[in-house]
Each structure stands twice: as structure tokens, then as C-alpha cells.
């Protein structure tokens, strides 16, 4: 029986794995498979794809652990492998997304092109929380993958702008700009759904 190393700090586990200890691999797998699954699922949107991504990711971790230089945290490195694998899988397969431009705010002469209402007020009376979560999830799924990834890492996984930039191999200003556009587009979609629900009442 391999030793139970589930309680060891991550850095120690990584060291042990580099030394060829397979039990350390198992401990890291257990620690991260849930997070990596969520991330893979949110990018690919399909269970079968998420499963395939997970297999590739952890196999790559095992194979490439020697090249992990420890400059970033192990988790960041793992997220990066996951995002790259998932995006690669979608490439050329994901149906063309409608441009997010249609859901960005419209202006005329610098002013809002039309009056903006606060559709969030009293939302609980218009829609059940469970249904609302469904609408939000669908709205996220319609975002192009590069926007979806930023939103998921930032708002769902709780990474900082700097960590997201590291995962995506890009700059903090790029992450901030992309996150802002993702939120603007989501806001536009939710506005459409909420206004429609309100008009039906």
C-alpha cells in the first residue's frame, strides 16, 4: 500500500513526484481532479470532452513534471495545461459563435442609445433562483471560449487578474479588458432575458 500523502503540502508532493513517487501523483490527482473537471467542463461544455481533457491533462502532468520549473504555482501550471488542452479540442469544432458585439451596450453620440432600466431590482419576484442560475449558465456558454475562460477563472475559480494572466500566458491589462467585455456581453444577454420575463408578467 502506498503511503497516504493526502495531507502533505503541495510543494512537497511535487518534489516527491519529481523523485518518481507515484503515490504523490495520486495525492495531487485527488486534490485537483474536481477543480480541473469544472474548468474543463466550463470550457468544453460537454462531459465526454471534459473527461478526455482530464485524461490528457493528468497524463501530461505525469510526463512533464520534470519540466515544471516551480516559477509559477503548481495549480497555475495545471490550469494552464487544462485551458490549452480544452481550447485545442474546441479549435475548429466549436460552432461559430455569434459575435458578442450585439450584446455590448450601444451608444449614440456618447450617450446610451436607449434608456437603461434596472432589471435586477426585485428579480426574485420575477424568477426563481434556480431558473436564474440556468439563464446565467446558458449566457456564459454563448460567450466565445477565450472570454468564457477568463470569466470562469476569475469569477468562478476566484483567481486574481495576475494568476489568470499567468494561466493564459497574457498580460494583466488584456485579462482585465477581456473580463470587462465578457461581463458587458453577459449583462446584455441577461438584460434581454430579464426584460422579456418582466414583460410577460
Amino acid at each position: 500500500m502506498p503511503a497516504d500523502w493526502s495531507g502533505l503540502p503541495e510543494q512537497k508532493l511535487v518534489e516527491l513526484l519529481r523523485g518518481g513517487e507515484e503515490a504523490a501523483f495520486e495525492a495531487l490527482l485527488k486534490r485537483y481532479q474536481g477543480k480541473i473537471y469544472r474548468l474543463a467542463l466550463s470550457v468544453t461544455k460537454r462531459h465526454e470532452d471534459a473527461e478526455e481533457v482530464l485524461q490528457d491533462v493528468f497524463l501530461n502532468v505525469y510526463r512533464k513534471i520534470a519540466s515544471f520549473d516551480g516559477r509559477s504555482a503548481f495549480g497555475t501550471w495545471l490550469y494552464r495545461i487544462c485551458v490549452n488542452t480544452a481550447l485545442m479540442m474546441l479549435r475548429g469544432r466549436d460552432p461559430a459563435h455569434e459575435s458578442i458585439d450585439a450584446y455590448l451596450p450601444q451608444f449614440a453620440g456618447g450617450q446610451h442609445a436607449r434608456m437603461i432600466a434596472d432589471w435586477s431590482e426585485g428579480a426574485d419576484e420575477v424568477i426563481l433562483r434556480k431558473e436564474r442560475a440556468q439563464i446565467v449558465r446558458q449566457a456564459i456558454e454563448t460567450l466565445p471560449p477565450e472570454y468564457r475562460v477568463v470569466l470562469v477563472l476569475r469569477d468562478l475559480e476566484g483567481l486574481s487578474n495576475g494568476e489568470v494572466a499567468e494561466v493564459l500566458g497574457t498580460s494583466v491589462p488584456t485579462v482585465k479588458a477581456r473580463l470587462h467585455r465578457a461581463r458587458l456581453a453577459l449583462r446584455g444577454r441577461l438584460e434581454e432575458s430579464m426584460m422579456e420575463l418582466r414583460s410577460r408578467q
Partner: protein, 103 residues
């Protein structure tokens, strides 16, 4: 008011009335920085001045914040147990193959 002062006044307020206000479009562009507190004090004050007189922008901020709050509430489903078992078996088999020099 002497001529010099009137000129200064005209430069600041070219068309009489008020100093040039931030537009709605500019405000929306600055929103992310404003909300995470990274906007400089002066620009933030200007943004707030715009908000005082613009119901649409006020509602825009509210719904922008709500959007983020609702996103943060979502939970993705947990990894299924049978999925974990399949993954562990897949990896064990692969690693064993690689160790024995197979493919």
C-alpha cells in the same frame, strides 16, 4: 469679470454652461477600473458626478454588478465518482505501459 478671467472661463466652459461632462460611453469604458478601485481619485469623482445626473448609467452600474454577483453564485456540477474511477484506471494503465517501455 475682466477680459482675462472671461477668457479663462471660456476655455474651461467653451459653450457657456457646465464643464464638459464624462459621456456615458466613457463611463462604461472605465467601469471595471472604477469598481475594483484602480481608477485615480479625480477621474472617479468625475465618474460619480456623471452618475448623479444620469439614471441610465446608474442602472447600468447596478445591473453590471448584479451580473457579476449572479455569475459568482453559479455552481458547476461535481466530478462524478465513476468518472474518477475511470480516470484513475486510465492513468494507471498508461503509466504502467510507459514504464514497461510500451506505448
Amino acid at each position: 469679470m475682466n477680459l482675462r478671467e472671461r477668457l479663462k472661463q471660456w476655455v474651461r466652459f467653451p459653450f457657456g454652461g457646465k464643464p464638459r461632462m464624462m459621456t456615458c460611453e466613457e463611463l462604461v469604458g472605465l467601469l471595471a477600473d472604477y469598481l475594483d478601485g484602480s481608477l485615480d481619485h479625480e477621474t472617479a469623482r468625475e465618474l460619480e458626478r456623471h452618475l448623479d445626473g444620469c439614471a441610465s448609467c446608474l442602472n447600468f452600474i447596478k445591473t453590471y454588478k448584479t451580473t457579476t454577483a449572479w455569475v459568482k453564485e453559479i455552481t458547476y456540477e461535481e466530478i462524478p465518482d465513476e468518472f474518477k474511477d475511470r480516470l484513475a484506471n486510465f492513468l494507471k494503465t498508461k503509466i504502467r505501459q510507459e514504464k514497461s517501455g510500451g506505448t
